[in-house]
């Protein structure tokens, strides 16, 4: 069964106990996609590492050491292509030196490439049932592309969408996204730079 209305952002809810043919779809009446507001973070660094997949354990050890030193991350994501694993870490700019150092120590002698951290900013946001709905990341990417706001990376799993942007671009990104998405009246954008 399916109910569709024009100009909506639908939610799709497959029911696992039913046959695929009986998938149920419902839709919100939303002219603009609702969010709970935008979080903006500045003073960050994006570190990219490429390692051979066989070095996953060494990479894990480097991360363990960073954790024991009390260093946290803001966002991590990784993709593999063939035998190469590219890992992206978003950390605060003041921590990037120690992150690069530990990666260098633990991955010494391996076939790896640690690119110097790039000054970056981040915007992330959530909304009702974002994890179950389609078209939300698309709306964000389309809006940014229309205003020529360059995005370095995007990651989403679960209900939160993260956008990594070049230094100095997050404010413009939030302004653009605020035209595309509905935000609560009480809270709009929160700026944060705090992190371990």
């Amino acid at each position: 069964m399916e109910w569709r209305y024009p100009d909506l952002t639908p939610i799709r809810c497959p029911l696992p106990f039913l046959d695929d043919a009986l998938e149920t779809k419902a839709a919100y009446r939303e002219s603009r996609i609702k969010t709970y507001g935008f979080q903006r973070m500045t003073g960050l660094s994006l570190v990219r590492i490429t390692v051979h997949r066989s070095e996953t354990e060494s990479l894990g050890q480097a991360f363990c050491r960073l954790g024991e030193e009390g260093i946290g991350f803001l966002l991590v994501f990784s993709q593999c292509r063939g035998q190469a694993m590219e890992v992206c870490l978003v950390v605060t700019a003041e921590r990037v030196g120690v992150v690069e150092a530990r990666l260098g120590e633990f991955l010494a002698g391996t076939d790896r490439l640690v690119r110097p951290g790039v000054p970056s900013e981040m915007v992330f946001f959530q909304g009702p049932h974002f994890g179950d709905r389609y078209g939300i990341l698309e709306a964000a990417v389309r809006g940014l592309a229309a205003r020529r706001v360059k995005m370095t990376a995007a990651a989403c799993s679960g209900s939160c969408i993260y956008l990594v942007l070049p230094e100095g671009k997050s404010e413009e990104a939030v302004a653009t996204l605020s035209e595309m998405f509905e935000i609560p009246r009480a809270s709009s954008t929160k700026l944060s730079t705090t992190c371990r």
């Binding site: 991350f73 993709q79 292509r81 698309e138 995007a154």
Partner: protein, 165 residues
Amino acid sequence: MAEHKDCSTTEKIAMEGLKVSGNLTLMEVADRSYAGERLSRMLGELAKAGVNMMLFIGGESQEEIRFASCVAASDGAHIKALMDLNPELRTGVELSAAVDLLALFPHRFDFRTLGLGLIALARARIPLHGFCSSLSAITFVADHTDLDQAVAALKGCFELGVEIS
């Protein structure tokens, strides 16, 4: 190379749980001739087809655009149909065999949780297609054929409160 104690020598870390999402297909795109609009166009076509992405990881470097997305296996046919209708979107697209998402929560933005997870999966010889953090979970992408071993490997390292699948 530096040495480090790991989950074989320390107590298990208590986590609230592990959520497994299955019956998924991984779509990977790598394009060196990226024209600037392709990501937006591709996402637009997927949205029009009603394809929800359980996970999306995308990045752009000077050399190329690359992104990976996990969609319901039943949407694999939608994506193939899109590629047939729009041959220009087909460049560099690979659809993999079945994958699962294993989401460990909460990560508390702690590198140690991520590191121990990677060590556990590497020692169990589970090849990963990728991983990604969200506000609360670290999600690993693994082949469906490796699901049981991957869950066992993570259980060997973490004390899991609940398992959701």
